[in-house]
Symmetry: C2
Subunit: 512 residues, 2 copies
């Protein structure tokens, strides 16, 4: 250890002698730690989903509590992020019952059984007992990869979903999918010439993580006029251009169903992507957190990359793949719990050891998140006491999400100069707005991008917080925004109405 | 966003042209992602607390389940990490009651009140109601800094503890203290010449994080012969040497009470350290997660760095300080929940904005961890229905920890060639072992450090898993190990006995 310390320090000494500018914090006045002296990579990161718009929305929310008289709305509606329970989506009863029993094992004692069985169904009690037998206490650090029993259940879930075997040793439980993505990207990049292909538009976790690890994002564009489709041609163009410039392209991120774009890939399309990765020697990162948010299940069912890969010829059976999932999305929406997992397919065992090591620095994913992963992948089944209620709850959320997706797309498509693809999946719409030149000029005067100007106008007028397309990436010269379709269904007409009113008055003000 | 992407990519292109060796993953055969192509900084990280010893302990644990006949023990005792509930420490009843009610708000409905009031005391119900009113649902993402109400409660706790004001806006809730430490260190370093002072021995989170961000650890030594004391002289020597070599020393990590060393700093000593940091323009990182694990409270009470700083003259009132706390330690031991916070004292508001941005990439700390922070900082008080039970539970754990600390130190000091300082605080002892040359030779043959050889021998013989001193750093030529004193008190004599037996037979085998 000491040797390591000294060696590392020595390396630093040598390398810094080769640098031309040395700035000592200690020679300056005022604060030692400032935006001048802080880490430049951290400074360069952008993360719009929680950027200027949500910060302003938070301030308006506070103002509503103190002095609502000056605002034209009585509520801030947070459509900036897929956070269903913030917008009053009810949690799945069975999941919360089991989790609360694990939290308070006193309830499982014999002397409390009579009372507790009036509050809890027998299958929730039984599940909590099985979990606690395997976990010990939710207050103890678990294995850094996650609790073995839960990883076994995840493997069985994947097997049922795909029809192909899964090994619990290839599964890492994580604090939401984001943590897994960050760890894998960190490991996958070697230096500034390492490139990772990301879709445009993308979820900004990817660009932010690449900024932080100082690797090169290699953008490929989704085709808006073909329902945000993705062809091999575009992937090939993207990788060829990057390699011509000397970038070592190592991995391809696919978000399926898409975020912010909501498309769901066909099996054929997935095959094409796998062929591309195989031929180009590129690791696949499949962000599949919206795998149950599928609104046209007959036309566009969800196919996991793992399943499609396994169904292909022997030449593809070494293709390296990471697949990410989360408890935050689906019909569960347990975002605050920070639960998730990733599966490693055909990943070098030595790399999995490195992933274990890096996971162990944070000790373990939080156990409550792990429990929710168990419940998500292992819900009540037909015949279980809790199944009818579970099914009714999940179905109601699913159908309502589908209705709201359709309604919001209709609302957007009815607006002057706005076009919007349907959501085949996920929780978002990403409409394109043709902004008048006058609006673009006005935005320039405010020092804002035109889409931010529009979104900020919407927030100030309606209390609805969406995220400008520039936060996700968009074809130059086009303007978009991302909105969830999560507002409560009984308030949805009012929600759409306020967006229509705002858009009309915005266009009346700025129409060329 | 697009512009940012292109710019970043372009930078990479330019910079890589200046590099001599370019290795394309795509020109190789076999796996794309290997330990050859992975990120070299990740590869270089060491993390002994969950390294070779715990991995072997895990394997032995599995073997005990399958075929215990070949092992000399019936249980693996994990003393490698402070994980009290893994070793059957009972959680605080009130905390779990509140947490389980927050998890299952159905229990708070009027129709369930009669039943629930037989299972839960009124103050737990009332607390859960207040929390849920402020949180909404535990399933929703919260503010990235943590729930405002809980940050307000943390601020009040700090005020009560220190007698000086605390601002909730300066508090960030985190997933354990580790996450906060990693974020702050990442921000504090600028490049390879940025140095952060860390104690030797240290908790390996610090060296691992510095490895990951490619900054220079600047070691200072704790004085074992003076109860792991720390003088200004040693700090001065360390910073002077580093600066002479061109390192930009920016921060000083102090772990108080110490980990792995268990010392608790006097107020005078803390003043001296603050003076040093002020004069040398060094940011203070105070790792104070063991602040309630104080076993000689009259001789060595805990003083927070914030309190001591505030008590000093006006020239110190701009000293930058981060103070870290956790729900994993104390008498609570809620490790699996991953809860914690840090307070920013005199930190540039622009830096706090950067910390907010970086926190927002992971969306929020898990809400269950946040709830435990609320309970830890705001426990039942005299007059509350739950106070007598809370006090009895905390006192029992506290007294038992004190007894076990003393007993284990006595055990170690009774062994041939072993000396061990008392634990004034924390959960560990860090005895020094004088190993015979024969043992050092035998270790060499096995390709192990002598302390790893000893610890591995102990594990194989007794099932007790400790961590060799080389995992924490130690004076060259000395050998130590870290053991928690957390095994259950009713098994403690057996535990000590098995260590004694092992040590005797080890010494008989290798005595020079």
């Amino acid at each position: 250890m000491i040797r390591t310390l000294l060696r590392t320090t020595k390396t630093s000494y040598i390398q810094l002698n080769q640098r031309s500018t040395i700035r000592f914090a200690s020679t300056k006045h005022g604060k030692v730690l400032t935006t001048e002296t802080m880490h430049p990579l951290v400074k360069s990161v952008e993360y719009a989903v929680r950027g200027a718009l949500p910060i302003r929305a938070e301030a308006l929310s506070q103002q509503l509590k103190k002095d609502p008289s000056k605002l034209n709305f009585d509520k801030v509606v947070f459509c900036n992020i897929g956070n269903p329970q913030q917008l009053n989506q009810k949690p799945i009863t069975f999941f919360r019952q089991v989790a609360s029993l694990c939290e308070n094992p006193e309830l499982l004692k014999t002397e409390n059984r009579a009372l507790v069985s009036k509050l809890y169904p027998a299958d929730a009690i039984a599940r909590a007992q099985v979990l606690l037998k395997n976990i010990g206490s939710v207050g103890a650090y678990s294995h850094s990869k996650g609790i073995t029993h839960i990883r076994e259940n995840v493997a069985k879930f994947i097997e049922r979903r795909d029809g192909y075997a899964a090994d619990p040793e290839n599964i890492f439980l994580t604090q939401g999918a984001s943590e897994g993505v960050q760890k894998v990207i960190q490991l996958l990049t070697q230096n500034q010439q390492s490139g990772i292909m990301i879709p445009i538009p993308q979820y900004p976790l990817y660009s932010a993580t690449l900024s932080l690890v100082d690797a090169a994002p290699v953008p490929y564009y989704l085709n808006e006029s073909q329902a945000w489709g993705l062809g091999r041609e575009e992937l090939q163009k993207s990788v060829d251009e990057a390699r011509k410039k000397g970038v070592d392209v190592r991995a391809l991120v696919i978000i399926n169903p898409g975020n912010p774009t909501g498309q769901c890939l066909s099996e054929e399309n997935i095959k094409e992507i796998i062929q591309f990765c195989h031929e180009e020697r590129i690791v696949l990162l499949a962000d599949e957190v919206y795998q149950t948010n599928i609104y046209q299940p007959e036309r566009r069912p969800f196919h996991s990359f793992k399943k499609v890969l396994k169904s292909m010829g022997p030449e593809y059976q070494e293709q390296e793949l990471f697949s990410f999932h989360s408890t935050s999305k689906g019909m569960i929406g347990e975002c605050g719990r920070r639960g998730g997992y990733f599966e490693c397919v055909n990943i070098d065992p030595a790399i999995m050891e490195q992933l274990y090591k890096i996971s162990s620095i944070s000790l373990c994913p939080n156990v409550h998140g792990q429990i929710m992963v168990d419940l998500m992948t292992n819900p009540p089944v037909e015949g279980d006491e809790s199944y009818p209620q579970y099914k009714a709850e999940v179905d109601a959320i699913f159908q309502s999400l589908g209705r709201r997706a359709t309604k919001l797309a209709q609302c957007f498509n009815g607006l002057e100069g706005v076009t919007c693809n349907d959501a085949e999946g996920a929780m978002y719409l990403f409409p394109q707005i043709t902004l008048p030149n006058k609006a673009i000029e006005a935005a320039k005067k405010e020092g804002m991008t035109p889409d931010s100007f529009y979104a900020m106008g919407m927030l100030e007028a309606t209390g609805v917080c969406v995220i400008p397309g520039s936060g996700f990436g968009q074809e130059p010269g086009t303007f978009h925004f991302r909105s969830t379709f999560l507002p409560e269904e009984n308030l949805f007409d009012k929600f759409c109405g306020s967006l229509e009113d705002f858009h009309k008055s915005f266009m009346n003000k700025y129409r060329d």
